[in-house]
């Protein structure tokens, strides 16, 4: 349905190796501006490697990564962050001993328009009023839910075109998982494209526009979220239904 547009971010036949181990095998995927796209897969399916490849922490052995139509395969991580990719890491991983404010500032580390930081921070406070209350508190003392807000805020401070989220449901109570996915929707509604990597297929598909399913390094399914939710193959493999 969106095939006529240039994807905002694209994997074109990407292969990634860790030494002799072939992790990503001929992975192709597209993310269009304004979408929420999820990448589903079990343990060791290559989800985290995909994110590392996006951010340039791992350089693919074959294929191309494109951002806004430009080939970024050989760019450094900092260049990619500068040009609009930023990540909310798995388990949040805030700089626990730094204050919330310092965490947010690190998120904007590469930005040169220092003057607009304050305005961006205000925007994050609008999204998460709790963060403002905790501004001078050490990040490690925050509750899990608050930490998630700060982690998202930190990534948003880079003004990303595509926000990458690594397992946002990991290690959180069900209520917080739901809240988390609400946050993703909010951010998306505010205009940021989101790429979510998840094991929790039900949750991710309920908010995503489209989804890809990764199995031992290869994309085995790709469809709109609604279709994937009812896809019998999908349900059997990932939603735990045996029928």
């Amino acid at each position: 349905m969106m095939a006529d547009r240039t994807p905002l971010m694209q994997f074109r036949n990407v292969d990634t190796h860790y030494g002799p181990v072939h992790v990503l095998k001929d992975v192709s995927l597209e993310i269009y501006s304004g979408e929420i796209v999820c990448l589903l897969g079990g343990n060791a399916s290559g989800k985290t490697t995909t994110l590392k490849t996006v951010l340039g922490m791992v350089i693919p052995s074959g294929g191309d990564i494109l951002l806004d139509g430009e080939v970024i395969t050989t760019w450094s991580t900092s260049e990619r962050v500068r040009r609009g990719l930023s990540m909310v890491p798995e388990n949040r991983r805030l700089f626990k001993r730094m204050t919330v404010k310092e965490n947010l500032e690190i998120g904007a580390f590469l930005r040169e328009d220092r003057e607009e930081l304050a305005a961006d921070m205000e925007r994050i406070f609008d999204l998460f009023p709790r963060v403002k209350e905790r501004l001078n508190q050490k990040a490690g003392t925050l509750s899990g839910g608050e930490q998630q807000m700060v982690a998202v805020g930190r990534a948003m401070m880079a003004r990303p075109k595509v926000l990458l989220m690594d397992e946002p449901s990991m290690g959180l109570a069900p209520v917080l998982v739901a809240q988390n996915f609400e946050i993703i929707q909010q951010i998306n509604a505010a205009g940021t494209t989101v790429f979510v990597v998840e094991q929790n297929a039900n949750m991710a598909l309920s908010i995503a526009d489209r989804g890809y399913v990764l199995q031992t390094g290869s994309i085995v399914l790709s469809d709109t979220a609604q279709n994937l939710l009812v896809n019998p193959e999908m349900r059997a493999a990932y939603l735990g239904e045996v029928e």
Partner: protein, 643 residues
């Protein structure tokens, strides 16, 4: 809330007994005896033993007060427990005395001489001496326990009196020479006997001098401190900066000559402070544990020596010292890159081990016979004192040039920014002022190149000390600016979580290398100063123990804290001395490394954030306790609400 029992008392007493036996066995007690702290009662030798039962007698009924709980009130129980502790200590010491009386252990333990038993019983002899030891142990233990009964304020005042008497008695050298240089000979001769010990009446006088002003000024100091603490962070920083600047100015201007020995000690302190500041950047800010820091110190010393000396074996450009400094910086930065680049991918333990090896490699390279043509092998290189002469006019011109460039850059950056926004802010004005001042300094310097000609020789310790002080001030200023800079932020993030820092777009390799190079340059400054201070450099000055001691300074003072590093260097190097340099307490010479080790362990256990910690480190290291207290309090509140 736990209350101490007699079991605790026995356990602490046993520990105390072991400490006392250890101190006696290594010969510390007897060899310190020559040093009288308070004449005629107390020598440093006895002091090294007597503090044990008293301190442990106090410690045994130490109360752990959690937030929201009330401690048990002090009472006779504390005294009894202290007495038990003291008794156990004394019993163990008695056993030891009997043992060394019955068997000759001297073959194995060289310090266990026949006179040791005699010394430990204070000359009383065997049967009666044991009773004497027991009596002293019980009394001191009980006295230690009784300290709990003394209300807080008198207790802290008493503690302060004891500390001052000890400090003045121990570092008599410092106080004596200051008093004499200030022309206060009479006070000096009142305070100290001819053999430089404190007679009992001056101990009383010192006590009064501590107590009286403290009682009169009660609360004033706290008020000042409270006011300082309520100031906004920027104000606090400004006050701190002003105090530091005043201290440096005092050191530079006040024409007090502390006497050669004290100057020597101060110069050593400054040298280690300089290197402590450098290592603080690597370890404290960036979190890279570098155990081979001495390599950069050696690089600085050798490059300064080769560039200035006419006696260098191969390459002798014979530059003046200040002309050599830029090259030393360059060489040190290169060395930082060369060592840093291969090890940068390692972390934690691996980084520590590899840098440790690099430290040794550096020494072996300078020592190697096949490089004798370049570095002089084990004989090293003699530094030419004449080359250290410097004309301050040129220095002024150099500083002016740097200021002019920085000022112009700032002014230009601020102006282009202001043009975008259509208003002129104060930053561009500040840049212009700096540029004008720099231009003026440059002009004056070039017009009068020899207006203050300065020659340092290794012998002229006062000059060396002031010179070192200038470099320390520069290093402290650089560290202070770096801490709150962009690269300082990157280091902080790196220390916290390297992976995430990388994902945030921080160039991890560059950040680590910057830390390494900055640290290397500061160490090289230290090395260059060391070269002109000592006059000859040879490889054995650059042993691993140097790296370790610099690290101890940083850890004991407080990682990441400038004040902490300064204090660490003052206390450790000033009092105990550097690895090969004397400190104020020459008796400790042989036990220096032991004391460093004990201090390091004690700090790690009790105060891992250091003596004067950076605010951030305290948060980091006591987070667990803080959370625990908060949790207990929340639970207590919950229960109170429920009830």
């Amino acid at each position: 809330m736990t209350t101490a029992t007699w079991r605790d008392a026995v356990r602490w007493g046993a520990l105390g007994g072991l400490i006392v036996v250890f101190i006696a066995t290594i010969g510390m007690a007897e060899s310190f005896d020559a040093r009288k702290v308070i004449d005629p009662f107390l020598s440093l030798g006895y002091l090294s033993l007597l503090w044990v039962p008293m301190a442990l007698g106090y410690r045994v009924s130490h109360r752990v007060v959690l937030e929201g709980t009330a401690p048990t009130p002090p009472g006779a129980r504390d005294i009894a427990l202290g007495a038990i502790t003291g008794t156990v200590v004394a019993v163990i010491l008695c056993g030891y005395i009997l043992l060394i009386d019955a068997y000759n252990l001297r073959e194995v333990l060289v310090n266990v001489t026949p006179t040791l038993g005699h010394y430990l019983t204070k000359g009383v002899g065997l049967p009666g001496g044991l009773a004497f030891v027991l009596g002293v142990g019980v009394a001191l233990g009980a006295a230690g326990g009784a300290l709990h009964l003394v209300p807080g304020r008198p207790r802290s005042l008493g503690l302060r009196v004891v500390l001052w008497i000890l400090v003045i008695g121990l570092v008599e050298l410092l106080f004596g020479s200051i008093l004499r240089e200030m022309g206060l000979k009479r006070i000096d001769s009142f305070l100290f006997n001819l053999d430089r010990t404190i007679p009992w009446y001056s101990a009383v006088a010192i006590g009064l001098a501590v107590v009286v002003p403290s009682v009169l000024l009660r609360g004033r100091a706290q008020a000042v401190r409270a006011r300082f603490n309520t100031m906004p962070a920027s104000g606090r920083r400004r006050v701190g900066f002003a105090l530091a600047a005043a201290a440096v100015a005092f050191g530079m201007i006040v024409p007090v000559n502390f006497g050669p020995l004290l100057n020597e000690v101060l110069a050593t302190v400054g040298l280690f402070m300089l290197m402590g500041l450098g290592l603080n950047i690597v370890v404290g800010y960036a979190g890279l544990l570098d155990l081979g820091y001495v390599a950069f110190f050696a690089v600085g010393a050798y490059s300064a020596a080769i560039l200035t000396s006419s006696a260098a074996p191969m390459f002798t450009p014979e530059l003046a010292f200040f002309a050599a400094v830029p090259f030393v910086i360059l060489i040190a930065a290169l060395a930082g890159l060369v060592v840093g680049t291969p090890v940068i991918r390692m972390r934690g333990d691996y980084l520590a081990i590899v840098t440790l090896a690099f430290g040794e490699i550096a020494r072996l390279v300078f020592q190697a016979d096949w490089l004798k043509e370049a570095f002089g092998g084990a004989q090293g290189i003699r530094v030419d004192p004449a080359r250290i002469r410097t004309m301050f006019g040129y220095v002024l011109a150099g500083v002016g040039l740097i200021a002019l460039i920085i000022g112009l850059l700032r002014w230009w950056a601020a102006r282009s920014l202001a043009r975008e926004r259509g208003d002129l802010d104060s930053r561009s004005a500040a840049g212009a002022v700096v540029a004008v001042l720099g231009a003026a300094a440059l002009a004056i310097g070039l017009a009068f190149p020899s207006f203050a000609t300065w020659t340092a020789r290794g012998i002229d310790t006062e000059q060396i000390f002031r010179f070192v002080l200038v470099f320390v001030a520069i290093a402290a200023f650089v560290s202070w600016r770096l801490e709150s800079s962009r690269v300082g932020r990157a280091w902080m993030a790196l220390r916290e979580d390297e992976h995430v820092a990388e994902a945030m777009g921080i160039n991890v390799v560059t950040a680590k290398l910057t830390a390494f190079v900055t640290g290397a340059v500061l160490a090289a400054f230290g090395g260059a100063l060391f070269a002109i201070k000592i006059g000859t450099i040879y490889p054995s000055s650059f042993r691993i123990v140097q790296s370790i001691i610099i690290l101890v300074i940083v850890i004991v003072g407080g990682m990441g804290s400038l004040r902490g590093v300064a204090l660490g260097a003052l206390v450790l190097i000033g009092v105990l001395g550097g690895p090969t340099q004397p400190g104020l307490l020459r008796e400790f010479e042989g036990y220096k490394l032991l004391i460093y080790g004990v201090l390091l362990i004690a700090m790690m256990l009790k105060r891992p954030e250091g003596l004067l910690p950076a605010a951030r480190r305290t948060r980091e290291l006591h987070q667990e306790e803080f959370l625990q207290d908060a949790w207990i309090k929340a639970k207590a509140d919950e229960m109170a609400e429920g009830a």
